[in-house]
């Protein structure tokens, strides 16, 4: 589903990482851990196809791929519902309002649907951004720091979400500062000095 070959990235006068080889197959979870500034986000942006300055190869054999980065893609002047609708439309999917509301309810956002995203807290916005993961049937998920800024309940929801995605045969790559819930992780990639 996702494969990298001797992936290296040189930025700001130093090698962020060199010769990474990894593979994610259908139904597998890859965890990427490392301290701040070791290039986790850069790696994610390369995998998502947003960064082109790298050496080596990245092959993606998934039908579609969803990416959540540090910037969630929510316009502060649009409401929660409008933002989610727009993000789904960008993926070429148009879910009915009913489906949308059910998804938002699952993430505990039912009271905020008509609020502007600029008025929400960080954690709430993250949950809004995660709504499209619940709605879409993309095969590969790329979650950069998805678990931070979420409360306990949000984390649990996301974990079950990920679990069911993997059970359906999807691939998942996520990152965090420290090792997190080793239960569902198949592979771990440690970035930075060991």
């Amino acid at each position: 589903m996702l494969r990298s070959e001797s992936l290296s990235c040189f930025r700001q006068g130093r090698w962020l990482f060199e010769d990474l080889d990894f593979e994610v197959q259908s139904g597998e979870v890859l965890q990427i851990i490392g301290d701040n500034g070791v290039g986790k986000s850069t790696l994610f942006r390369i995998l998502a196809g947003l960064l082109e300055d790298y050496d080596g190869k990245v092959e993606i054999a998934a039908r579609s791929c969803l990416f959540l980065g540090h910037r969630y893609g929510l316009n502060p002047r649009l409401t929660v519902l409008e933002n989610v609708q727009f993000l789904m439309a960008l993926q070429g999917e148009v879910p009915s309002e009913d489906t949308l509301l059910t998804a938002l309810a699952k993430l505990g956002l039912l009271d905020e649907t008509q609020q502007r995203c600029g008025e929400l807290s960080e954690g709430q916005r993250k949950r809004v951004a995660l709504t499209r993961f619940l709605l879409s049937n993309a095969e590969l998920w790329l979650l950069d720091e998805a678990f931070s800024a979420l409360d306990h309940h949000g984390r649990q929801t996301l974990l079950t979400l990920c679990q069911s995605h993997v059970d359906r045969g999807g691939g998942l790559v996520f990152s965090s500062h420290q090792a997190l819930d080793p239960l569902m992780v198949d592979k771990t990639l440690r970035l930075g000095p060991a």
């Binding site: 947003l50 929510l74 502060p76 649009l78």
Partner: protein, 214 residues
């Protein structure tokens, strides 16, 4: 289509931006009689050029407004990753820029013309030239804004980059209005618009991929 709807919705949600470009236009035009002379004959002679220059400046001023917000909140990333062709995204961004920054100014051109003692015939041709010429400005402004997105001192850079490209629409537009619609200039301006419409969204799209990598 969703993109266009979103752009229009954002436009309606932010009347302040429209008001800002209107205010800028009116205030700058009001400064010219004070700076040069209140003599209506002189003002009439200068009027077409002045209004065109003011329009051009307004266009530059608003160039990176909507793109910058999309860049900062990450929408641009999602647009690049999305299924909609990127040139379409860029075209919609140009349309949005034109609607917020330039169309309102074109609508109040009669007011600006009155301030500069214009004759009604010149005013009609001026509005026509603005209608045909300003979309070119928008297309180039979005291209320039995309190029400087996420760079330091983007504003000054934008000015240097865009200036040469804004000369042809300015020259052709003012000439068309001042010769009271000599078809030669009209055809050229329309031709310029067609060529820009067909090429610039693609150029902008190729730069957008680079911009999100910053």
């Amino acid at each position: 289509m969703g993109l266009l709807k979103r752009e229009l919705r954002l436009l309606l949600r932010s009347p302040a931006e429209v008001v800002q470009s209107l205010l800028f236009g009116v205030l700058v035009v009001a400064l010219f009689p004070l700076a040069i002379t209140p003599d209506p004959d002189v003002l009439r002679q200068l009027s077409v050029g002045l209004i065109w220059v003011v329009t051009l400046l307004t266009s530059l001023l608003a160039a990176d407004r909507s793109l910058l917000s999309d860049f900062e909140d990450g929408s641009l990333e999602q647009m690049v990753l999305g299924v909609a062709p990127l040139w379409w995204v860029c075209l919609v961004k140009s349309v949005g820029h034109w609607l917020t920054a330039l169309l309102p100014l074109i609508v109040i051109t009669p007011l600006l013309g009155m301030m500069l003692a214009m004759t009604s015939e010149t005013m009609l041709w001026l509005m026509a030239s603005l209608l045909v010429g300003t979309p070119v400005l928008s297309l180039f402004c979005v291209l320039g804004a995309m190029m400087t997105l996420g760079l330091n001192r983007g504003g000054a850079l934008l000015l240097v980059i865009l200036m040469p490209f804004l000369v042809p629409p300015l020259v052709l537009g003012t000439q068309w209005a001042m010769t009271l619609g000599q078809p030669f200039y009209g055809y050229l301006l329309a031709g310029l618009l067609c060529v820009s419409l067909m090429t610039l969204p693609f150029a902008t799209a190729s730069v957008a991929r680079i911009a999100v990598g910053r």
